[in-house]
């Protein structure tokens, strides 16, 4: 997809699309392209059932990427996603083993564990001013250590509660998987927070220039702390949903979500340097990544090929949109 064709198409489109970020448009164009390629490969690719199934798979990534986006908008990054996801899933399942109260508190407890990880990240980044990639790597390692100790190094035996399974696989609205509804709700909340609240404005402000935000009298450290806590909580919630989807938690279940969540946010046009990006773009990025994964697996592309294609696509997209300005 070259930029000129997009420009040409955009010129004939309604105003609200013309004003949209070219990166978001490119992401959506790529989705259309992928659907087209997929339909050549298999007729069923465009069937409603298949698309809904993809949307359901995408919603797990979508929930996790929402938290990642908040952190990236601040110009930071959260590399503790893998074990925040796993900790959320394992702790929710573990709580379920403690009688009816445990079952009732399973989901909040799982999320709480993710928030705790996020708070440690946030304190490190905001108050100790440790680079986010370093402190989040460290908390990721600690979370992993805690989980290994807890589970004894094996996949935990506790299984997901009925509520978790219902959230991940049930249908409250006929025809629409609950996971998709949850993603929609979280997404709507995120859009509301980013566009309508003072907190959202502040996030963009800090991402653009923390110095100016600080001199505007904003308690920037508190905002950063909250953002990391939310990111941790959403990762853990993603883990809870995944555990519900698979009926149980697994050791390395979060590993597969770090790169895709960053990629989804960045491919959706959010600047890795912070301060710029829309949730619509992240939605596009999540769907794009999910479809890419799906097509690669339909084509029986081995894991190796998927990893390579991911990496190359991300670098290529970033070189198009995400470059730092030429210095001097």
């Amino acid at each position: 997809m070259s930029e000129t064709t997009i420009g040409g198409i955009a010129g004939r489109m309604p105003k609200f699309i013309r004003r949209a970020d070219p990166a978001v448009l490119t992401a959506f164009a790529c989705i259309v392209l992928l659907l087209f390629v997929g339909s050549l490969y298999s007729r069923s690719f465009l069937s409603p059932e298949y698309l809904l199934q993809q949307l359901k798979v995408a919603s797990f990534l979508g929930v996790i990427a929402t938290g990642m986006m908040l952190v990236i908008l601040l110009g930071q990054i959260d590399l503790s996603v893998p074990w925040s996801v796993a900790a959320g899933a394992m702790m929710a399942c573990a709580a379920a083993a403690y009688g009816p109260v445990g079952v009732a508190l399973a989901i909040p407890f799982g999320i709480f564990c993710g928030v705790a990880i996020g708070v440690v990240n946030g304190i490190g980044v905001a108050y100790l001013r440790i680079p986010s990639m370093i402190i989040t790597l460290a908390t990721n390692a600690v979370a992993q250590g805690l989980m290994v100790v807890y589970t004894g190094g094996f996949s935990p035996q506790d299984s997901a509660t009925r509520a978790m399974r219902y959230l991940a696989t049930g249908f409250a609205i006929p025809g629409v998987p609950n996971a998709v509804v949850i993603w929609a709700l979280i997404g709507a909340a995120m859009v509301f927070v980013l566009t309508r609240t003072g907190f959202g404005r502040t996030v963009y402000g800090i991402g653009n220039r923390e110095r100016a935000a600080y001199l505007s009298g904003i308690d920037t450290r508190r905002v950063v702390l909250i953002a990391f806590a939310v990111s941790g909580g959403l990762s853990a919630f993603g883990g809870v949903l995944l555990a519900g989807y698979a009926s149980k938690a697994a050791q390395s279940m979060g590993d597969a979500y770090l790169l895709p969540s960053i990629a989804a946010v960045v491919l959706g046009g959010t600047s890795i340097l912070g301060g710029r990006g829309s949730y619509l773009g992240t939605v596009a990025g999540v769907i794009l990544i999910t479809l890419l994964q799906s097509i690669l697996s339909v084509m029986q592309m081995p894991e190796a090929g998927r990893q390579i294609i991911y990496g190359v696509v991300i670098v290529a997209m970033l070189l198009l949109y995400g470059r730092a300005p030429a210095s001097r």
Partner: protein, 326 residues
């Protein structure tokens, strides 16, 4: 007269890491059932040297105020490549070694080119290239396997004169051949200067870009030496995702323990080597004290967390809060 004090101040991080290592290693060997024997030292050095190479690689990039999250994957990729190529006659083996090292150098150079000339953030770039390198490793070795020239492998992992672990000798040789020349070259100084203050370096006409590029490329080379050694120890290649990630993570821990500043411009690969050896020994301490090995990841994670938090103390010296946001 006072020269030695400046030298001491400059090497403080390295010496501290050395001290930690000595203390930890003494505790380790004195509680080890077999005690301080050539065998124990050989095993410990073989394990430690792997991380030491990867930590050296990380040091080079960290000095430029960057970070390389793909070192662990380059390490895996070169391990898998070596399990194909470093085999056969002497000449074939030698060519294989060259090819493996060249691949590492290339991986590092790609990282450097994207970061410096593509102007992308080091962190995202190396996460993405790390995925690519891991993918290639997986292509090479979908399942653990392969083989290596065993004569060479045994020589590299054995003992010289029955006492000195060969792996330590190789580590020393790499320090002398790669690190010392780099750190004393104009490019090495440019890497340090760019990491410390890119603006001042630019004003002084320092070749910033070339210095940084050399650092990234050599980091790839050092990670490849680590990958080669992994093959010598295991005789096989294996694309184990968790292992690659762990090495990346531990390399950061080792670098921090070794007194290298994550903000760039300060530290030495020798410090990082002792940081790596100390980190490994601390991890192994749990075994000699009969702790459940399950506690090892947590223990290592906590050490890492403490290590990265130590740097925050400099924060209390900041008197103008605007300096937080530079």
């Amino acid at each position: 007269m006072k020269d030695w004090r400046y030298w001491l101040a400059e090497q403080r991080g390295t010496l501290l890491a050395f001290g930690i290592f000595i203390v930890m290693f003494t505790i380790y060997t004195s509680n080890h059932p077999a005690g301080f024997t050539a065998n124990v030292v050989q095993t410990a050095s073989n394990k430690g040297v792997l991380l030491a190479f990867v930590a050296m690689a990380q040091t080079l990039v960290v000095i430029t105020a960057g970070i390389d999250l793909s070192v662990g994957m380059i390490f895996l990729l070169t391990n898998c490549l070596a399990s194909w190529l470093v085999i056969g006659t002497g000449i074939e083996t030698a060519l294989g070694v060259v090819a493996v090292l060249g691949t590492g150098l290339l991986c590092g150079a790609i990282n450097g080119a994207i970061v410096i000339y593509g102007r992308l953030q080091p962190i995202v770039t190396t996460i993405a290239t790390g995925a690519v390198y891991f993918g290639i490793a997986l292509l090479l070795r979908p399942f653990p396997g392969g083989s290596v020239n065993e004569d060479l492998a045994d020589a590299m992992t054995g003992r010289l004169f029955g006492v000195v672990p060969a792996s330590l000798v190789v580590l020393l040789a790499v320090v002398l051949v790669v690190w010392v020349p780099f750190s004393r070259s104009v490019l090495g100084r440019a890497a340090y200067a760019a990491g410390s203050s890119e603006m001042a370096a630019y004003m002084s006409g320092v070749p910033i870009r070339r210095g940084k590029f050399a650092a990234y490329a050599l980091a790839g080379l050092l990670a490849a030496i680590g990958g080669l050694f992994l093959t010598f120890f295991t005789y096989t290649g294996e694309a184990a995702y968790a292992s690659g990630n762990a090495y990346t993570l531990f390399s950061i821990a080792a670098v921090v323990l070794g007194g290298v500043s994550l903000f760039g411009g300060k530290g030495s690969a020798i410090g990082a080597i002792f940081g790596a050896l100390a980190f490994r020994t601390i991890g192994d301490l749990l075994f000699v004290f009969d702790f459940d090995p399950l506690w090892q990841p947590l223990f290592q994670g906590v050490i890492l967390l403490i290590a990265v938090s130590l740097g925050a103390f400099a924060l209390f010296r900041v008197r103008n809060r605007l300096e937080w946001f530079l």
